[in-house]
Structure formats: C-alpha cells, structure tokens
Symmetry: C2
Amino acid sequence: MEPEHLSETAWRFIHHFGEMGSRWGISRTVGQIYALLYIAHVPLNADDIAHLLSFSRSNVSMGLKELQGWRLLRSEYRPGDRREYFRTPEDVWEIFRTLADERRRREVEPTLSVLRECLLDPMHTREDEHFHKRMQAMYDLISMSNEWFIDIQKLSAEDLTSLMHLGAHAQKLLHAKNRLLSFAGINKEELPEDMR
Amino acid sequence: MEPEHLSETAWRFIHHFGEMGSRWGISRTVGQIYALLYIAHVPLNADDIAHLLSFSRSNVSMGLKELQGWRLLRSEYRPGDRREYFRTPEDVWEIFRTLADERRRREVEPTLSVLRECLLDPMHTREDEHFHKRMQAMYDLISMSNEWFIDIQKLSAEDLTSLMHLGAHAQKLLHAKNRLLSFAGINKEELPEDMR
DNA sequence: CATTAATTTCAAAAATCCTTGAAAGTACAC
DNA sequence: GTGTACTTTCAAGGATTTTTGAAATTAATG
C-alpha cells in the first residue's frame, strides 16, 4: 500500500523537520517520524516507518510513544490485521494548536510556578528587591501571554485566520477606542478588566 | 560590587532557566548565564559569572558569545577597568521580542524556504499530489503566522498589552464585521486584502 | 615595544542524549 | 492453554553536545 521508498522531495521535507525537531526538544527521529506521517497518504504502521526511514523497530516504537504523549497522533486497527496504523490529524491548525498547548503545559506552567514560589520568598537586601522586581516583570509578561493563548486557542481556524489578517491593524481599533476614552474623559482604570 | 554568592531563591530561578534553556536549543550554561544577568542588579563581567555559577572561564566566554549572537546582551566598559561588563536589556518585552524574532529568522524562515522549494518540485504520482497539498497547508499556516508576527512585532509593549487583553474578544469585533458584510451583501473576496 | 590583563580558540575529556538488539510482554486465534 | 504476530522495555554501545584547561590572541599601559 505504502510506497517502497521516499521521493527526493519527500526526503528533503522529512530531513528538514528532523533537524528542526532536534532544535525543539524532540529528537531527530521523532521529528522525522512525524513529518513522514504528516505527508503519508495512508496511515502507516511501525514497520512501514522503520523501513522507510531506516530506523530500528524499537526506535520507532519509542518515537511513536513520545508522539502519543504529545497527543499528536491518531491510530486505527484494521480488520484481520493486528498492527496499529498511525496518522496525524488532518488539520494543520489542530496540530499546531495541540503542539503549542502541550508546550504551554510542559514549559510555561512550570515556569510560572517557579516564579510564583520565588516571588513569595522573603527579601532581605537591596539586591533582593531588584531581583523581585525583575521576576515580577517576567511573571507578568509570561502570565499574560499564557492567558492570551488559552483564550485565543478556543477560536476556530477560520476565526484565527481573520484575526491574523487583521494583525497590527487591530492596533488602529484600539487607538480609536483610546481616543474615544480620552475624549469622553474616562480613565482606563475605571473600566472593567476586560475592556481595558 | 556583586554578591559573593547567590541566594537560595536566585539559585532556584537560575537553575530553572538553565533547564528550560536546554529544552530550547540553547545549552544549560547559556540559560543560566542569561538568567543571572537578568536578575543581577549591576552589570557583571565574565569572571563574576564564572565565579557565581561555578563554570570555567572559557565556558562563560563561549556562552556570552552565543548570547551576543542572539542580540540579547548589552555591554559596557568602565574607566580604568579593561574588563567588559554585561547586562540584559531592562525591558522584558524587548527581550522576548528579540528572542522570538531571532528564532523566526533562524527556524521559521529556513523552514519556509524548504517548503517553497519542495512545492516547486514536479509531481508524478497520486501520492505526490497528496504530499503537495499537505505541504501547501503547512506553508500557508506558517507563512501567515510569520507575517502576523512581523506585523505585531512593531507594536509597543503597551499596545501589545492592550491587544492581549482584548484576546478572543477581538473575535466579537470580527463577527460584528462579518454580520455587517453579509447584511450589506458584500462578498469577502471583493474586499481589499487587508480588510478581509 | 615589552609587559600585563583580559578574552578567545581549540582539541580532548566528560556528560548527555540517542539508537539498537535481545529479551520480555501482550493480545489475539485456534 | 499454546502458538503466533506484534509491541514494548531496557541496558549497552554509539553519537552528539558540553565543558574544560592550556595555548594563542588581542588590547591597553607605561
């Protein structure tokens, strides 16, 4: 069913995502496996993958397990065939959303925890005070981005596309709003949280 | 000038960012150096850093060089002192912007190039066609996000904060616009690019 | 221009991370 | 329950990345 070997172009694609993966905390193998599954026109089983990418069977098994840990795979069984067949979600948006959300949970949330803990520690010296301010600034930024992402994540691919096209133009809307506020003599602090 | 040793809390902070760094394609050392410089209340020279973090002098030198490659450091000389003193920008937003932009240039742009090249390759089989569609979908998503980021990057920290607070509420604006369009019987395709 | 102070380079050692084959585990079919 | 087809685990070996100290380089000073 699946091709015996990869085309030149397919290989370039897979190879690139392997390299990319290794800059992103997932191993080359895992990156390549995912790239292959992403472009495959039919679901593949572990042997297909091992064969096409020349990895050991066990390496593929571990790679698939890791990808499942990232919630990035779908799998299915076929009647009369005991092997498990894997594929990626069809929608690229879904893939990126899942990836981003998983990173958020694995990296951003723990970072916020550490920062919160550090911020609770008592300050003794002038340096401690400076340290505290710096951590607070970082906490504020990360925390806000985190919430923004959780918020934005709910939107459909279509809505996200519109929002992105709007891009920095949204700034104009905000400026218009701000001019209006100042015209009306209203102070930002008087507004409810979600209208600032 | 700088403290002889790090407080418990400072160490926790630095240690965490070392671990984080190692998940992000920069080494533990580099992550720790940056965390230290970020919280330091005065600029530090390479010896200070090596001493405080117990790294070899040469390791610190390479780490600083890498951080400069990321455009994440400021440095200064003092009269009567030959040593170079390093600090991070004061504004966390600036740091994150620089980091994100550098990653964009190092990872996203090359990925787009590879995808463009692959998309130009001739298709022979049915599988090639499917492959082509998948790459196109990925190209569209990454390309759009990339442009969105370039666009958004120009905004001030203040504007970005407002935008983030707006978050998914922006969706309401869009829906309002879309309802208006459909009420007026205007098709999206008739609008100029930046109004869709 | 020689001396000294600081920085950088680089090849080797150390640490870490990845990959593998062999063995153990699982689950289905008869 | 036994055999079969597949999957997973794991310790050892391999590969890659980090870290280091010694030597080379650069730059300032008298």
